[in-house]
């Protein structure tokens, strides 16, 4: 386990260096921060003055070296737009993005596992209800998040007027962003669970259990589903990155004060320090969750434990 953790940490370090380097140069290749700050009405002299003021006129390699040295002391730089430390902005908003992600993940698990289990337990003889449910899951998987968001708002805020949808103003404003984000994952997870359950039900150990007189519910609940969930555990980990990328759209539509909307705004304003801080923090989070899922996968699957020993 210790060796695995060390390997993961080394991977994370390499990933972060690669990411920061790529981002640093890519951002500067696509936008001129001084010109963005000055605006199109400025004179070239004013842009040059801004460049000198913020050290943007120094050689790029020197700016990069200073940036990396700052990162080593957790100094992510300062937003040239708001004047605030870039990391402070991210830290202020991150809990709300994580909250949304956690809620969406919980809702995904609550919905997708039973749906998947039900769909997968048909054993090749799906009735009309299962066929309809499969079709709905299939369609939902292809539906973009912003369409789901706008539909939800149209139904529950505009027509029925049951729910508010702007910002983070209490529990009722959490519902639609959560459902929107979960809509990314529920169909995926449900299909994986369904396929895994169907596969597990065809295994020898299920036939043995059935021959021993186990009930259908017992077979599914005690034998097939736990095995089916092993594959799903890995999916949940990898889908965390999808959740965070989905938050960019979801947060913009719902005016949710998370890092997704911060990233959109920072990108539009060529606020490089903030873009970089958001990207690094998200990368660490995704990596951590994926590594956690890997570890959980190994802990849950006795075959992997045995292989290691």
């Amino acid at each position: 386990m210790r060796q695995l953790l060390l390997t993961r940490l080394a991977n994370l370090a390499v990933l972060l260096v690669a990411l920061t380097t790529l981002l640093f140069f890519l951002l500067r290749a696509t936008a001129d921060q001084a010109a963005m700050l000055a605006g199109v009405d400025a004179t070239p002299e004013q842009v040059a003055e801004i460049r000198a003021q913020y050290g943007l006129d120094r050689p790029l390699w020197r700016q990069y070296a200073d940036y990396m040295a700052g990162l080593a002391t957790l100094d992510f730089g300062e937003s040239l737009v708001s004047g605030k430390p870039a990391l402070a902005d991210v830290v202020e908003r991150l809990p709300w993005t994580l909250l949304l992600a956690a809620l969406a993940m919980t809702l995904t698990i609550v919905l997708a596992i039973p749906i998947g289990a039900w769909l997968g337990s048909a054993q090749g003889r799906p009735g009309p209800a299962r066929r309809a449910a499969s079709a709905v899951v299939f369609v939902l998987q292809g539906m973009p998040g912003f369409v789901v968001a706008l539909l939800l708002i149209e139904i529950f805020a505009v027509e029925l007027r049951w729910l508010p949808f702007i910002g983070n103003e209490g529990l009722d404003t959490w519902i639609m962003p959560t459902v929107t984000l979960a809509s990314f994952l529920v169909p995926r997870l449900a299909r994986v669970v369904a396929a895994n359950v169907a596969g597990a039900l065809a295994e020898d150990y299920v036939r043995t259990a059935r021959a021993a007189g186990a009930s259908a519910r017992e077979i599914l609940y005690r034998h097939a589903l736990p095995n089916a969930l092993l594959g799903a555990t890995a999916l949940v980990g990898t889908q965390f990155a999808f959740l965070l990328s989905g938050s960019v759209i979801t947060e913009s539509i719902f005016a949710w004060p998370g890092v997704g909307s911060l990233l959109v705004r920072a990108t539009q304003n060529a606020d490089f320090a903030v873009v970089q801080a958001v990207a690094i923090v998200i990368a660490i989070l995704v990596f951590t969750v994926n590594a956690g899922a890997d570890l959980a996968f190994k802990a849950l699957d006795p075959r992997l434990r045995e292989r290691r020993s």
């Binding site: 963005m36 702007i166 539009q268």
Partner: protein, 512 residues
Amino acid sequence: MRPWVPGARLTGLLLALLVALPAGAAPASPAPAPERGFRIALYALPPGLGNPYTGTALPAALTWPALFETLTVLAPDGRLEPQLAVEWRRTDPVTWRFRLREGVRFSNGEPFDAAAAHATFEYLQTPKGRTEAAGRDVGTLIAATRVVGPHELEVRTKEPAPLLPELLSVLRMVAPRAWRELGPAGFAAAPVGTGPFKVVSWEATRVRLVRNPLAWRPPRLDALEIIELPDPASRVQALQSGRIDAAVQMNPDDAEPLASAGARLIVRPGGSVLTLQFNTERSQPLRDPRVRRALNLGADREKIARVLFRGQTVAASQATPRIAAGYDPTLRAYPYDPAEARRLLAEAGYADGLDLTAEVVVGSGANDALAYQSVAADLRRIGVNLTLRTIPAAVLIRNVFGGGWRGDMFGMDYGTTPTLDAMRPFRLHSCLWPKRWYCDESLVPLIRAARVELDEARRLELTREVLRRTHAAAPAIFLYEVVMFDALSPRVTGWRNAFHTIDYAALDLAAD
């Protein structure tokens, strides 16, 4: 085999977990907006928060009038009106005297007087102030300011500045003591101005404000919330659901969905003309005026105005909108004449057509993407294959200052605000711009003379001469006069938005 359905206990447990998780992490729900509160949704809050030196244009211009005021202010019809200055006069070619309004106080109790105004101007002379957005025009133009009396300020400019009072309509007056004590970052979080409202909290996607009890123009409302809602469809839905009272930067197509909720869409001039600007420095075919004229004749601008904007704007006849000083009513828009366009192209040696590329930023104005596509479709009929390449605004700005264009033309407006002066965009769209894309040397003396001409009639004549020559030379496809759409719930009264400056003091909500 009987299908397995999750047991009620398990479902209940998971649902309880779902509810308990947020409840544990939840902040105390903020109190609902007071009864006399107003909610407005913007596509973005000011990136520089409450530091009014960091911007003069969109999106900041929409928020700051709630907090700050200026010496002068533009009315919706383009007239200049007094705000913190009650009158002004020129005492010599480079000196202006402003008499300031008496009895005005900032929201922290500091008096607004000539010394306070002087401090704002003085900051723009500092190295940091010179690079602020607010210093772009004013800071570089001002030589010095002097307090003549408690409420009289003298402003000296480096060269004759006939439009200084108009320029000052975007310079917001800042409480000097608060600025000194809080510093730029502190002030940005807790701004202090003379405006009708003051900040309660500046949050990630919303600003909460309450009535400024010291305001000389007391607002009719008790509270104001300015919400960042970047998605245009969300802004429509927010109005339809009654969650907000007003929204800006809407589209003409929003009229029907808004009308179904009783909301209304109102149109206002944007003070600019959208163009597809030719880059004659880069594009060989576009150096030929016959080709440039052919492209103007081949684009059906009337259709864009009539169909895409439902007749709420007009095809641009020249490089400036009707509301700007210097507009020449005798100039006519190039007619849509594909036959003549083809003839001109053939005469220029392009009888078989030509391929061109336009770099465009889309989404910054109502239906701009559709307008560009409409032009591309029209030009195809005269044998011009126009490829539209979408670029981010950041790339456009980088190219403006650094060159690096990759197309034959690019989408850009000829903006006249805040001076509403037709000559303003020619600083960019002429030989005067170091990284120029179009240059007609014969216009330079006229542009320079108009900029400092104090005699208004003469200045307007110089301006019209530039516009006439530009019309003939066709350095761009002048598409249409930019218009902006605001959406209001049926209860809103007193709405006044002049060139992005919303009069928050006049805003009110009628009783249900």
